[in-house]
């Protein structure tokens, strides 16, 4: 069974890029939803219960750190992976403290994304709570 992914990023460009990478990963991932800010992300998470969330940090309305905290309150075992641009390392550190499992730095390569995600969910979808 494919790993069900929610992509959160305010830039459609970035969402498309991540989606492109995941849908070309040999059926391991299935993108089941997208959100363009933190608030939307929480709503979509509640509704879809994805196995994995890729989370941008800097977004309008509610940022990814706040959204990560809220999502982990909903599900302590949620797998959130931060997708953030280079620089602002303190923000990434903060989101990991908030409970994110790992992070990917933009710009990223397909290999890099898949490498990091594979470490977060090594056993496939069944490993996710």
């Amino acid at each position: 069974m494919a790993i069900r992914v929610l992509i959160v990023d305010d830039a459609m460009f970035m969402r498309s890029m991540i989606k492109d990478i995941l849908t070309n990963a040999g059926g391991r991932y299935e993108v089941i939803g997208e959100a363009s800010n933190g608030r939307e992300a929480i709503a979509r998470f509640r509704e879809l219960r994805p196995d994995l969330v890729t989370m941008d940090i800097v977004m309008p309305q509610m940022d990814g750190i706040e959204a990560t905290r809220e999502i982990l309150k909903l599900d302590g075992g949620a797998n959130v992976v931060i997708c953030s641009a280079m620089g602002q390392e303190a923000l990434v550190v903060e989101s990991i403290s908030a409970g994110a499992k790992d992070f990917i730095v933009k710009p990223f390569t397909s290999e890099r994304v898949l490498q990091v995600l594979a470490k977060v969910l090594p056993g496939g979808a069944s490993a996710a709570s």
Partner: protein, 664 residues
């Protein structure tokens, strides 16, 4: 999606962000912006940077990054920038728009170095606001990984008070990140969280909270309490993204080293227990480490003397003091030993160079594989074993591994193969070097040993295959082997054996003709101080390392049987060869056996031996000193020990005693 579609998406979203930037900056010139609007400014620049970098448009990414830095400072401090700065930001926005339109039309954006420089000049240096609140590096106390620290991971359990005496083994691992790892501090945090899933994280150096703000070189140490072996944890970490290297460092003993004995000493024992959370690293010259260890060795010696010189009443105050002294010194010794541990990995480049150089010089192809590189050993043992190991490698390449043509003819791959493996077995270290060369012929060794009168015909016949292989380590014999050109091993194996013995170790050889040879060195993890049985034979005191002895026995005279010129005793289902030490060493005629003789039971391979002595004096700590020339050439001795009364006792090598008895 193809790249053109991504470009379109990039262009349209970039335009939106640039419009947002322009509108807000224009507004800022007229009135003060709300915090939300400042956040938006920052976000626009940040998003633009991320997209441009993803598309590989470096000039756009650099300019928007410079803007982002300036806007970040504005956002964090809240102080409105000057009109000149706002103009600068507006100009940068204009240039970005031009750059985006250029790439949208398929052109290449120009680098705006001047503008980037101007923005950097205004931007506050490296987010100083964040630094103010961060604890200084090295200020890692108990609980810095807990909830209070800014860099704390939510699910890293705080090292609570219970941690001091949970009895879990302590270990420390060092993690090295790949050079150029993006956001190394964040990467380190992720690794710490992963470790926290497997073990209790006691501390990290440098402090994770300080990594993000201070210059972090991508190398950090984590101390852990866990039952998992260090190598296992290290390989787990090594598989994580961006980790270039991870290795276990000194394995600390459990936090409570034998303090249970006397209740009076328990309190002080707990205080002096190692505190792995108090990390921080210092560099110490190795000579100072050697001096420290020598000092500890001498101290232990003095303690043993003192114990003998004093008449101590059981249960007296003096006995309590002596016991406390003993515990403290044991702890001190363990700590010094642990400080001297170095991973085998540090010697791998040297081994590879040796093999490469030799193979090239001899025109052979040789592959080297080294395993167990994360095993840590005492510095002196590691250094001392390099010589014999390199000697073995030289022999393997020179005489063991055939040339490519011969190998092919024998159906082997053209390239020879050498495997070196270092492993720990309980209290011993095993270093194994195997080649897939032509092997050694034990029959031929027997023949040469006979011809050269090193052994008698009866002895030659009694030798097992493994024992016959050990003949190669008899001084002079290996040279003879070389000249008669028997399936080839070269000179100097006697040197290898004596060096290994000097370390308190044992050399064994296995070989299959045509298939290869394995040399195995069984070594103590640290050579300098060891426990030994002291025993007397033929009027002299000898020491036998405890690690080599299985048990002590009393052999009754009537149980001794004669068998093919040997004395043996039956022990359970096993026949044990009796070695009368006095007769063996002093050449004294075997005295009329006493009604019962004390003996030390040990094994060489599958064979059991009982070393019969006049008296077993007891078990004690000895400081091992290497033998001076020419005594080092005597295979039956592993070294010398200075005894409590200042006399010197020779340390026996029981394995070679057994061999010598059979060869005699």
């Amino acid at each position: 999606m193809d790249s053109r579609e991504f470009l379109e998406l990039f262009t349209s979203e970039s335009r939106e962000h640039l419009e947002g930037l322009g509108a807000l900056l224009a507004k800022a010139r007229r009135q003060e912006l709300a915090q939300e609007e400042i956040n938006d400014l920052f976000r626009h620049a940040h998003s633009l940077k991320g997209m441009a970098a993803s598309m590989g448009f470096q000039p756009i990414a650099r300019l928007s990054h410079a803007m982002e830095d300036l806007l970040h400072g504005w956002r964090e401090r809240g102080a409105a920038p000057s009109a000149a700065t706002l103009d600068l930001l507006l100009r940068a926005t204009d240039r970005l728009s031009a750059q985006v339109e250029t790439v949208a039309a398929g052109g290449e954006a120009a680098v705006e170095a001047d503008l980037v420089g101007a923005l950097h000049a205004v931007a506050p240096a490296n987010h100083a606001a964040l630094e103010d609140g961060a604890p200084a590096a090295g200020a890692f106390g108990s609980g810095a990984l807990g909830a209070g620290a800014p860099g704390a991971a939510a699910d890293v359990p705080p090292p609570g008070a219970a941690g001091a005496d949970d009895g879990l083994p302590r270990l420390e691992i060092e993690v090295v990140l790949r050079p150029g790892t993006p956001l190394p501090a964040a990467r380190a945090m992720v690794i710490l969280k992963r470790l926290a899933e497997q073990a209790r994280v006691l501390g990290c150096s440098p402090d994770p909270a300080a990594m993000a703000t201070k210059g972090f070189a991508g190398r950090f140490r984590v101390s852990l309490a866990t039952t998992l072996p260090g190598e296992r944890l290290a390989s787990l970490v090594a598989a994580l993204p961006d980790v270039s290297e991870c290795r276990p460092l000194a394995a600390h003993a459990a936090a409570t080293p034998s303090v249970a004995a006397a209740p009076s000493a328990a309190a002080s024992g707990a205080e002096s227990a190692p505190r792995p959370e108090a990390l921080g690293t210092i560099r110490v010259p190795t000579e100072k480490m050697d001096r420290l260890l020598d000092g500890v060795g001498e101290l232990i010696l003095h303690r043993e003397r003192l114990k003998r010189a004093l008449v101590v009443e059981p249960g007296s105050e003096a006995q309590g003091f002596l016991e406390a002294l003993e515990r403290t010194m044991d702890l001190l010794r363990d700590t010094v030993m642990a400080m001297r541990l170095i991973p085998f990995a540090s010697l791998v480049p040297r081994l590879q160079r040796t093999v490469r150089d030799l193979a090239r010089r001899l025109g052979k192809e040789v592959e080297l594989e080294v395993r167990g590189t994360d095993v840590a050993l005492d510095r002196s043992v590691l250094e001392e074993m390099m010589d014999p190991l390199e000697h073995i490698l030289r022999n393997s390449i020179d005489h063991g591994i055939e040339d490519a043509a011969t190998r092919r003819a024998a159906g082997k791959p053209a390239a020879g193969r050498i495997e070196i493996e270092l492993s720990r077995r309980d209290d011993r270290v095993c270093l194994r070097a195997s080649d897939d060369g032509r092997g050694i012929d034990p029959q031929a060794l027997r023949r040469v040993a006979l011809e050269k009168r090193f052994i008698t015909r009866e002895a030659a016949e009694r030798l097992s295959e493994d024992e016959a292989l050990m003949l190669i380590t008899i001084p002079g014999l290996s040279t003879a082997v070389r000249t008669t050109d028997i399936s080839g091993r070269g000179v100097g194996m006697d040197v290898v054996r004596t060096r290994v013995q000097k370390l308190g170790g044992r050399l064994s050889i296995r070989s299959r003709l045509g298939a290869g040879t394995t040399f195995e060195m069984d070594l103590p993890p640290a050579a300098t101080v060891t426990r030994a049985f002291l025993c007397r034979a033929a009027g002299e005191v000898y020491a036998v390392p405890v690690s080599m002895v299985q048990t002590t026995l009393n052999v009754r005279r009537e149980a001794i049987l004669g068998s093919q010129g040997e004395q043996v005793v039956q022990r359970g289902d096993e026949v044990v060869t009796l070695l009368p030490l006095g007769a063996l060493l002093a050449g004294a005629a075997a005295p009329a056996p006493a009604p019962a003789t004390p003996a030390l039971l040990y094994r060489v391979g599958r064979r059991a031996y009982a070393l019969a002595v006049d008296e077993i004096l007891g078990e004690t700590e000895i400081v091992v000193k290497p033998l001076k020339h020419p005594l080092e050439l005597l295979p039956q001795y592993a070294g010398a020990a200075i005894l409590n009364d200042g006399r010197i006792a020779l340390i026996l090598d029981p394995a070679n005693l057994a061999l010598a008895s059979r060869a005699a």
